[in-house]
Symmetry: C4
Subunit: 279 residues, 4 copies
């Protein structure tokens, strides 16, 4: 009995290595095939929404969709088996996405039309990033994420300012242009202000009166200068992250880290740094 | 008598602590509730402008609006009481906004329709920034403000150039395209030039003739290169403000610069750094 | 006779000081009034093109226009008198602009309608920049100009790449979309490609077919990544120009310039730099 | 016989010098004339697509097109002759472009209408960049290319994120807005998401419902913050490439770093810098 349990443990461990890790050859292949399946199934979902395609190949798309759903169902069950705490995985973000990526197809058997909820499956594409562990791309991704995290607070302050400005400018445009020129309500005017300030500029709503166009001009110029700020914030942090080639060597005396690559002596205890441990 | 005055002084001081400062627990709670009230009242004003909402819930919105107005009136009077120089507060920018945020509702009793001026209340959202004192966000905000202030002159020079260019290009387009293609006057053509140069591009006015489209192409490409300038200005200042964490102290032995602010010993010659020369 | 000539020379010199320089009080006032006149006359020209304004105030605008034209004529003659080489001034860029800014009004006496050429006067707004000599804005302007000049070649290389890309993408879209979807010719398709790549996006021409929209998506994403380049170029140069706080001190031995602000010894001849001459 | 072969070798070498190199005077002239011919032929192809031009000057354009085609045919044959491995040139990218740039004109003799494929000729414009060898522009181009190559991986990671986001947001908008508001399929909604996120904003498809406009506002603001990333990536790399003019040598006396590449003596302790330690 104990032996059988050990066998299961070993099977569970091997499965976990293949499904959740990407260090072994089998694990890498599993990841690559999984990503290709996810991308293919997303393409199928996208094509299924094109009416011309659906009319001609609807039946085949339907079959392929079921094929992928069964495949992902098997994968979901295997994931539940091989983790030590199945409930923890099932309630995690990726676990919920994995479940939601297969449910709508089953639901469509009882509730017609619900198969369109399958688009939730596109969230599984996020797994692509985990596969980057395969390559050295993860390093670059982490630099980007670190830079974005470091500028988190500046971006929140900036977003608050932007939100205040679009509400104020949207309200002013609502008063100036009025409902006849497409600015039918303050929320819609705020939507227009966001479309203008982010320089998207659909043109579905645009100022018609002279004072409205004058204010819009002001908003655009101000908006552009203001929107240079997030670029500045992220660039400044990325420059730091790119330049900050901090040496990985530790001081042989006090074990302190974080010395510059040009440091000869430890800046905390003055001991000579070991040049051999340079990375 | 003197005792009563002292009581009032103490009451005034406590009130000031709560309303104007955010250091005490009561002050923090007051700020949080105030911000929530302001945001709620702005949402009510915004919903009131949506005709579908107004038809169904107009009466409730009316009541809620009056509730917020009375609340803000009480707050305004308390603010007048607790400051030492009430007139100075009443004539300050925030004081005027506080007054203008309650007046339109009272005015609407005598002048129908004037309650729409209540959108001025959205300016009170600016108070949100003061609440940042609660968190360490104020530091990030001040870095942004310092960077913007440092690049003030460069941005003014840039704005003057931009204004000259849009007037010149707008006038040229007015001559080339003429009134039949939507360029009905020079101011409107300048508005088009601003829409184009800031890359908003509504499309409500767009060149129709061949020379017009050729000039527009030139304006777009030139415009893009020129609009890279404010981004460059703000990024350069933000980079300086972000990097400026390097100590300005020099090593007393080898005079080397560029030590981190946390350095105790020179990283080049191991001499002890003089903490007095810290800047 | 000689005395009279000297008198004229002195008058000429004083006039030159007032009109061309901004060091004296009279010169500063002349510049400020001139700028106000130019701005006012440009506003009058702009208002004159608005049909509603012209109908009501056309006669007054006409009179004001003549007033400004006479004023600028007097100024032009005075400029010719006070410079030593009148022909050189008259054939310079600013001299030609000064002449072209007054000619159209006189021409309109003989050729009706030619007064619209007066928009050339807006070029005189460029003089605004000379007045910056009044303030310290000239320093900031020169940093911007230096940064733009330093990145001149990179920008030309970039512009050539952009031009090649818009021609190639424009031609491809002409073949894909065809004349029925608004892509009536290759030049017009190239115009569309420029509108798209600079993220202006009027929407007057937009892809209708599936392969067209796919290619357009590719162009947009590629375009955005490519258009990050001019921003990067200008930012990098501006960062250098902002950080490069080069000391203005010269070496007392070899007279070499360009030492860093942290330099103690001349980097060319090892002589000790004079700290008193620090700027 | 051997002499004749040597003659051919010499002729081949001289031809190669002229056609493929730009070091000699003849080579420079050949390149300049070639570029002018390519640009002219591209202009002719572009004008030929304008119906008004074709009606009037169609015959002349036809003749000029044949002239350029014969010229480029002679050039192609000469290129084949003067290279040592003709097959290698013929199968290279530029060799194929050279062939494809002349084929369509000949094809149009048998298959009417195929002369429009001649637009492939615009790819020859890429040769313009080789001529930059003439000037020092190649250095600037290589800085740009190096910066782009260094940020290659970051840009790929960014593009993957962008692609995931536009698929998710496009699918959501398809569900929210539906086919009645122009979001006829998921691929078309993804196209809309790309148009919005890159701030192009044609306005051919735009959200009509309230939740749709709310989500679009979110996408725009998020999109702007995200699109600041490629600018940041390229700017950070360009800053590094531009700044990297600081010598990596250390002073042999005080070990100080950060000397300019033109420094002869240490700016901190006046010791002579060791030119051998230059990197």
């Amino acid at each position: 009995m104990k032996n059988r349990l050990t066998d299961f443990r070993r099977f569970q461990y091997t499965l976990h290595e293949i499904i959740f890790e990407a260090d072994t050859l089998a694990g890498k292949w599993f990841d690559v095939i999984l990503i290709l399946s996810i991308v293919s199934s997303v393409v199928v979902v996208m094509l299924d929404s094109v009416s011309a395609f659906k009319t001609h190949y609807g039946f085949y798309l339907y079959e392929v969709e079921w094929g992928f759903t069964l495949l992902f169902t098997v994968e979901y069950i295997l994931r539940l088996i091989c983790v030590k705490k199945p409930l923890r995985y099932a309630t995690s973000f990726l676990g919920l996405v994995d479940l939601l990526a297969i449910l709508p197809t089953y639901m469509s058997l009882f509730v017609p039309g619900s198969q369109y909820l399958i688009v939730i499956r596109v969230f599984r594409v996020l797994r692509v990033f985990r596969v980057f562990k395969l390559a050295s791309y993860i390093g670059e991704a982490s630099i980007l994420i670190r830079a974005l995290r470091a500028s988190r607070r500046k971006i929140i302050v900036f977003m608050m300012t932007l939100l205040t400005l679009v509400i104020i400018f949207g309200s002013l445009m609502y008063l100036i242009e009025g409902e006849d020129n497409g600015f039918t309500s303050i929320p819609r005017s705020v939507y227009w202000a966001i479309v203008t300030m982010t320089t998207v500029g659909y043109g579905d709503i645009s100022p018609k009166t002279n004072p409205g166009q004058a204010l819009a001009s002001l908003i655009m110029i101000l908006g552009y200068a203001i929107l240079a700020v997030p670029t500045g914030i992220i660039t400044a942090e990325l420059s730091l992250a790119t330049q900050k080639k901090v040496s990985t060597q530790a001081c042989p005396e006090c074990m302190a880290h974080g010395h510059g690559t040009d440091a000869v002596f430890c800046k905390y205890c003055s001991a000579r740094l070991n040049p051999d441990s340079h990375s």
